[in-house]
Every structure is written in C-alpha cells, then in structure tokens.
C-alpha cells in the first residue's frame, strides 16, 4: 500500500481529523504488523508470568522512595537534603512510568491484583488518568506511530523542538496533565478520549480523575496550612523535578524513526543502556521487542532480544548513541518532515515491510 509522497501534506495528529480518515481508508488503522517468527514453545516460555522479580523490584522501589522521603524531609533546609530529593524525584517521577506501563499490560506480576494495585499507584504518580490511559496505550499498540490514530506520538512532524527540550523540565507536561485531570473530574472527555475509551468506561475515568484531584487538593491544603513546600515535594512535585529520566529514556523509543508503517523495526528503537537505567525503566529499552511481543514481561525482554536480534537492526549502543541518532533526525524533520532514520538490517533478517504511506 505505498502511496505517493506529498511533501506539502500537513500532518493532522488529532484522532478525529483528515489523517484519521486516511489511516482507516488505507488500512493502516488496525493493520496486521510484521512479527519475527518465533517457535510457539519458545515464546510461550518467554511469556510466562512470575511474581518474584516484580515483588523484589517493588520492594526496592518503595524502600528507595522511603529513604528519599525521609532524608529529604529530615535534612530540609540544608544542602544535605538535595541527594535525597534527587533520589525520591527519580523514583517517583520516572520509575512510576515504567511501573504504570508494565502493570498496565498486566505483565509485571503473575497475580492480577498486584498489577492492578501498582498500576493505580503509578498512574497517580505519573499524573495519568488510569482509565483513559489504559485505552490510550492499547491504541498505541494497535496503531503504533500511525498519524491520526496513535494518541501517544511524542515527536510529531515537523517537530516542536522547543517543546521537546522543555519536556525535560516537566512543567509543561505537568500543566497539561493536571488540566486533563481537572477536565475529566468535571465530567468532560475530549473527542480523542471518546474515540479510544469505550463509552462504558467514561464514568470510571471521571471517578478516577476526581479521586486524583481530591488527593492533590488535600496535599495543597496541607502545604498551605503548614506553610511548607514539603507536601508538594512529596506528592505531585516529583513529577516535575524527577521526570528527567523518564523523558531521557522515553523520547528515544520512537523519535526520528518512521511513521505510518506496519513494521516495528522501522518505527521503534532498541537501545542497550546502563543497568541502573534499565532497572528504573524496567527494560523498556528493548522497545522493538516489546512492541512485537507485548506479552513478554519486562524481566524476559533481554532473553527475547537475544532470540530476535538476527532479525532486527543493530541496537543503539547507549542512550547517548541513541540521541546522536535521534537529534539530527528530528532537526532534519523540521525542514523535511518526510525524513526518518532508516537502519540497515543484518543479512539474516527478513526485509522490512516497506508499506510506508506518506499521506
């Protein structure tokens, strides 16, 4: 389904616009995606769920949150509090994203209620409506980086580079997220939210937003009553001052790569990263692997990578290496929105599914 490239086409990333219609008409919406052949017994083994790894990691996560909160509060007013808040910020404002993601997939724990509890906690920390974002992410997996269908495209074309840079400060995204929660709490869902959240779930989304906003209101009231920043440093604030790691790892998932394709090897990036970041990010650096086989839990992704790598482009060798690839590509997309990084495949790989549709 390769259509002629129209260099003058202005992309419409809304979920109710011209590109949405085109995605449906061309068959890009809900398409059948390329997947590397893996024997059933092998993939079944990789898909197996366990409680142990996520229980261990969650215990460490809560312990680090506790240490950060204790030190930050105990040493408040002195420089000694800074490393504790840095720790707390990253555990709250960045590690929350990977926990939200993995528990949303239901793959972190074998036991269902454990996924649900951590999903709710992490959704609050990352300032996402736990109902609507569950459906948003399902759409992201159905129509990954399909313009007009995927609600989670971070790097649109042409890119708003200033906004991408400012994302690291966390303020703009926090403002947008809070505005969304307030709007949901008042009972309003946008046309985009109504597009990917089934009507039966709308009332749950509104209730969740009201609960989140009530907690923020209490936090703000305590901060005002005690005339202290500490409640805001503990709740809500870390989503701003601690989100940098989430952005650092998250923005290289897809930025600079292809749009409107049905092969995750063209629109997703696998990056080999340091073990600390891998723990914070719960192995989502194996991002092609995750999109091809979303049922494989985070702790099995390194094994899946070894099995798939003969069929994947070479991974980026570090976070810095990924940015060296992504930043020039994004800057070039400001001038040439059709441009994307096209990586060579190893000789052992199946060819790319080159059904790129420049609509």
């Amino acid at each position: 389904m390769t259509l002629a490239t129209d260099p003058h086409h202005i992309r419409d990333y809304s979920l109710t616009g011209a590109d949405t219609v085109r995605a449906r008409e061309t068959g890009l919406a809900g398409a059948d995606w390329y997947r590397t052949e893996v024997p059933r017994k092998v993939i079944k083994d990789l898909m197996q769920r366990r409680d142990g790894p996520a229980m261990r990691d969650t215990a460490i996560w809560f312990t680090l949150l506790g240490i950060g909160a204790w030190g930050g509060t105990a040493f408040w007013g002195s420089w000694a509090c800074v490393p504790f808040w840095l720790l707390y910020g990253v555990m709250y404002g960045s590690a929350c994203d990977s926990r939200w993601h993995e528990c949303g997939h239901g793959t972190a724990f074998r036991t269902g209620w454990m996924n649900d509890v951590i999903y709710q906690i992490a959704s609050f920390m990352v300032v996402r409506n736990p109902v609507s974002w569950r459906w948003s992410h399902a759409r992201h997996h159905t129509d990954t980086i399909i313009v007009g269908r995927d609600p989670e495209i971070a790097c649109m074309r042409p890119p708003n580079t200033l906004r991408l840079l400012m994302a690291y400060a966390g303020v703009l995204e926090m403002i947008d997220s809070i505005k969304t929660l307030i709007r949901n709490a008042f009972g309003t869902l946008t046309p985009a939210e109504k597009d990917y959240v089934p009507q039966s779930e709308w009332v749950k989304a509104i209730l969740a937003a009201r609960i989140h906003m009530a907690i923020y209101a209490v936090t703000l009231a305590v901060a005002l009553l005690t005339w202290s920043f500490i409640p805001l440093m503990l709740i809500g604030g870390p989503r701003i001052y601690g989100c940098w790691h989430m952005l650092m790892t998250g923005l290289i998932q897809h930025c600079g790569l292809a749009e409107n394709v049905t092969d995750h090897r063209l629109n997703s990036r696998t990056v080999l990263i340091n073990p600390v970041s891998r723990w914070i990010y719960w192995n989502m650096n194996y991002h092609i692997e995750h999109h091809m086989f979303p049922m494989v839990p985070y702790h099995a992704l390194p094994r899946l990578h070894e099995i798939l790598k003969h069929d994947l482009p070479a991974p980026n060798t570090s976070i810095l290496d990924a940015y060296r690839e992504a930043i020039p590509a994004v800057l070039r997309q400001a001038r040439e929105p059709e441009y994307y990084v096209h990586k060579p495949l190893p000789a052992t790989a199946q060819p790319y599914r080159m059904e790129i549709v420049h609509v």
Partner: protein, 105 residues
C-alpha cells in the same frame, strides 16, 4: 464411531496442557484449549476487542490472555476479565473422544 454433530479438531496430544491452538473450520476460526488438567475447551478464535487471534496468547490457569493488548477471558465461561476486553467470548462444548479433541459448533 464419532458423532457427526461434533467436529474433529486434532489429536489430544497436539495441544499441551495449559495451552491453546487455532482451529479454522467452515470459514470460521476458533481457539481450542486444554486446561492444566487436560480438559478441552473451545471459544471463538478472535479477541472481542480488536479481532486478534487468541491462539497466539498465553493460557494461565482458567484464562487466555490476548497477545496484542493483554486483555483476558475465562476460556471456560467466555467471561471478559480484564480491560481492554469488555465483551464476553462465545464458548463451545468440547470433549475428548478416543484420544481426539472434538468441539460442538
């Protein structure tokens, strides 16, 4: 002699315990399971959320998890258990007969 009302699927050994296969028949597609104790079950083959073949998913105890979005059904009852699936799955009687799995559709 097998009952013609029942449709032959496969040899019982073709499906591992706690696993599933795809079975296409008469223009329709089904998912045929064996529970951990070996009992056979059958449902529609496509997820009610986005029509993905469930046979590529994961069987855990009484549930089948869709390979695309991780929605879950109870394959014994067809009940939708976990978002993003909301609509129940149709189920069909299944049995073991002379070492073969058969379903009633």
């Amino acid at each position: 002699m097998s009952d013609p009302a029942w449709t032959d699927v496969c040899d019982a050994e073709d499906i591992d315990a706690e696993d599933v296969i795809r079975f296409d028949h008469a223009g329709r597609t089904f998912a045929v399971y064996r529970a951990p104790d070996g009992t056979p079950f059958a449902t529609d083959g496509l997820c009610t959320h986005e029509k993905v073949h469930l046979a590529e998913g994961l069987v855990m105890d009484d549930t089948i998890e869709c390979p695309k979005h991780n929605g879950r059904f109870n394959y014994r009852t067809g009940a939708a258990l976990r978002a993003p699936v909301c609509v129940n799955l149709a189920t069909y009687p299944a049995r073991l007969a002379d070492g073969r799995i058969e379903i009633l559709i």
